[in-house]
């Protein structure tokens, strides 16, 4: 029983961390990689640094934060 509870807690924490990562946009490069492999197979995808540069600029060109 305690193992099951510990396992449940671990799974819950892992999921929480995943949500936080996604909400803060930490997994954007992984999303991009998945997309690039699916949509443009054959072409080499951007490196993490290249993607990060372009992405950051684009993300801040609209309303992203409220009061």
């Amino acid at each position: 029983m305690p193992e099951r509870a510990a396992g449940l807690a671990r799974a819950l924490l892992a999921r929480l961390a995943e949500i936080l990562r996604g909400a803060a946009g930490l997994d954007r490069y992984e999303h991009y990689l998945a997309h690039a492999r699916r949509a443009h197979p054959g072409e080499p995808p951007l490196s993490r640094a290249e993607f990060f540069r372009r992405d950051e600029q684009e993300r801040w060109s609209g309303v992203r934060r409220c009061c």
Binding site: A23, A24, G25, H31, A39, R53, E56, V63, C66
Partner: protein, 684 residues
């Protein structure tokens, strides 16, 4: 089962609310307020939101969303529902829901709590969800674009002008809040200043040292921020360093204005983006921490449920309960600004229409809960202390001695010694007349957090709370200036095409300068105003934010009216009607009320008469000319807001009239149906 749950929740809500409302004379525990909130939110989410999603919007889980159809791995990405929820909440939650309830506590906690609960469940959450849904059905189009599509060019222009104006007022009032928190406080000032190089360091780390490693950079940044809070406390005791960070409000306003300009023209990776990561983590962490602490501490609310100031004679801002509680608390109940995030960014992440209820309605429920916690933090202070911190001295008789006498005469006893010892405990020179809400909220938050996580750390928690608010506010300030700049460049581009190029440096400098000058002006006048400026700027902000909500609700009402389920348009028309009444009455009173404390024009007349009669003290006479001009300008701005929102509403009513007469109404412009190919159930 469903019915049983509903009955249980309704009974719980009625019991908790009844307990709060009937418990006059004795203090009440904050848990009652949280319990009432939890039941009301659960009812709203479980039943009202589900009904709207199914019957009014007819959300269709088989329909492919733009995130799926237009997936590009960048802005259009089908994302798991709880991740979008977190993303959207981080985007909508800013300093607004913390400050509004703090100020509105002047009426007592009850009116504010009721408006936050009812306003969010029937208004704000509905607005966010329906706008999010409408934009999702339209490939993530923005509110301005939807207004143009559904109402026509006049409605579209009104939405854009309204957005630009609200941005200017919002940034000015938030700038004023930070300035008032830093005024003559070396600890707060040095901590807030330190956040800037820390953010830049994080930016450089993510860009140069370890490109794209956001998580580790943010972790280091948060650690440095906490160190800066502690370092500020050390610096406060160094006689050599202290004076470097001890400034007048005007100097600090100059700094904020200069900072705003520099931040708007710097590349985003250096300052804006890294600080936004830091503020996102701080925001989520602090909200959770505060909620846990309130539940563990179970504080008693010392503020009365209703104060005598419901008659309009309040010292923090003038104006009676109706309509001003509904204006003062905008974010947390209904916030028009949310419609800008709900259209544009978030819809491009929605994986299936079935998630719109959780993301749109659910995020706003959480934001509303933050507002409730801010109200609790204000209401647990001794009322005398609360009013002494938040009222400008001019409203309490001119100096600390008069203020204490005035407050005690009102039945909120407080002594100079009590204020001094509290100021000493939180590490400030004084807490009198620290208007703007941030210091009072910080005292409330610090007493909750230090009550649970370390007594004796009151001063550290206080300055942590100030840093936390400042990081939020500076992010909004940069991001808002930048958005204003893009909108202005777009508009100027129609006149001189070169100015429309968003990366052409002369255009960047010119348009950023214009936006900063606009909000900088209101900030400066707010700072030199002997009444503290907040009492003029916050109502103006509330009116403009609620009017933007009016515009958003009018647009989505028009969309529902053009669709097959137009008989359900009351779902958005009802909150729209309420906001139209509230904001119109408030705007009218701010314009034409004969009391110089409430009406802008009466205020200008009164000041002009006293200036002419030589009845003003020299310090006030020196700035009177600017204050008079400013009150007239505020009046013009209020009139402008009023006209803009009614233009949009009348445009919408034209469509409603066609519907009721049975005339043909052109259908609304949705993207065509495409069946989803994502498999069912694969979500985080």
């Amino acid at each position: 089962m469903r019915k049983l749950l509903g009955i249980g929740l309704a009974a719980g809500a009625a019991f908790a609310l009844g307990g709060i409302a009937l418990n006059r004379g004795e203090s009440i525990n904050a848990l009652w307020v949280l319990a009432a909130g939890a039941c009301v939110y659960a009812l709203g989410y479980r039943f009202y939101a589900a009904w709207i999603s199914a019957r009014v919007l007819a959300a269709d889980a088989t329909r492919a969303t733009p995130a799926e159809r237009l997936d590009n791995g960048r802005d259009f990405v089908p994302t798991a529902r709880w991740v979008v929820f977190g993303h959207h909440f981080a985007a909508i939650a800013g300093p607004g829901p913390l400050i509004g309830p703090t100020l509105a506590a002047q009426f007592g906690y009850l009116p504010g709590v009721l408006w936050i609960l009812v306003g969010s469940v029937l208004g704000g959450c509905v607005q966010d969800m329906v706008v999010l849904f409408a934009s999702t059905r339209r490939d993530g189009r923005t509110l301005g674009q939807m207004a143009r599509d559904e109402l026509g060019p006049v409605g579209g222009l009104a939405a854009i002008l309204g957005t630009l104006a609200i941005m200017v007022i919002l940034i000015a009032v938030l700038g004023l809040v930070v300035v008032n928190a830093m005024k003559h406080s070396p600890w707060a000032t040095s901590t807030v200043f330190a956040t800037i190089p820390i953010a830049m360091g994080v930016g450089l780390y993510m860009r140069v040292l370890r490109p794209g490693r956001v998580a580790e950079a943010s972790l280091i940044g948060v650690a440095l921020l906490l160190l800066a809070v502690a370092g500020g406390g050390w610096l406060d005791h160094q006689p050599a360093l202290r004076p470097l960070f001890d400034h007048e409000a005007t100097a600090l306003a100059g700094f904020v204005i200069g900072y705003g300009f520099v931040a708007a023209v710097l590349p985003v990776w250096l300052l804006l983006a890294p600080r936004d990561y830091l503020s996102t983590f701080l925001k989520l962490g602090t909200v959770v921490l505060l909620a846990i602490a309130i539940v563990l501490l179970r504080p008693e609310l010392k503020l009365p449920a209703m104060t005598r100031f419901v008659d309009g004679s309040g010292p923090i801002f003038a104006g009676p309960l109706f309509p001003f509680v509904f204006i003062t608390i905008a974010c947390g109940a209904v916030s028009g600004f949310h419609a800008l995030v709900s259209s544009g960014t978030t819809p491009k992440l929605i994986r299936t229409e079935a998630d719109v209820r959780l993301v749109g309605y659910g995020s706003m429920v959480l934001e509303s809960l933050v507002a409730i916690m801010a109200m609790i933090a204000a209401a647990l202070l001794d009322p005398g202390v609360y009013f002494a911190i938040n009222s400008p001295l001019a409203a309490l008789g001119g100096d600390a001695h008069a203020a204490v006498a005035t407050l005690s005469g009102w039945g909120f006893p407080v002594s100079i010694e009590q204020m001094q010892s509290l100021a000493h405990e939180v590490g400030e020179a004084t807490l009198f007349a620290r208007t703007g809400g941030a210091p009072s909220l910080a005292v409330g938050m610090a007493s909750i957090l230090s009550g649970v996580f370390g007594a004796g750390l009151l001063a550290v928690w206080y300055h942590f709370a100030i840093m936390f608010e400042a990081v939020f506010i500076l992010t909004t300030l940069d991001a808002g200036t930048r958005v204003g700049r893009f909108m202005l460049q777009d508009a100027l581009g129609h006149l001189v095409p070169a100015l429309g190029r968003t990366s052409w440096y002369p255009s960047v400098l010119l348009s950023s300068g214009l936006v900063v000058a606009a909000w900088g002006y209101f900030l400066y006048v707010g700072v030199i105003d002997p009444n503290g400026g907040i009492n003029i700027l916050w109502p103006l902000f509330g009116i403009s934010n609620q009017m933007l909500a009016g515009i958003a609700l009018a647009v989505v009402t028009a969309i529902i009216l053009r669709g097959p389920r137009w008989r359900h348009a009351w779902v958005t028309a009802l909150p729209l009607a309420w906001l139209a009444i509230v904001t119109s009455v408030a705007a009218w009173q701010k314009l034409f009320d004969p009391s110089p404390k409430i009406g802008f024009l009466a205020g200008a007349r009164d000041l002009a008469a006293r200036l002419a009669a030589g009845a003003l003290p020299p310090a006030k006479a020196a700035v009177a000319g600017r204050l008079i001009f400013n009150q007239r300008l505020d009046a013009a701005l209020t009139a402008f807001f009023l006209v803009v929102v009614w233009v949009v509403i009348l445009d919408m009513l034209r469509i409603a009239w066609q519907r009721l007469r049975g005339a043909a109404v052109p259908p609304s412009r949705e993207a065509a149906y495409v069946a989803t190919r994502l498999e069912e159930g694969a979500r985080a």
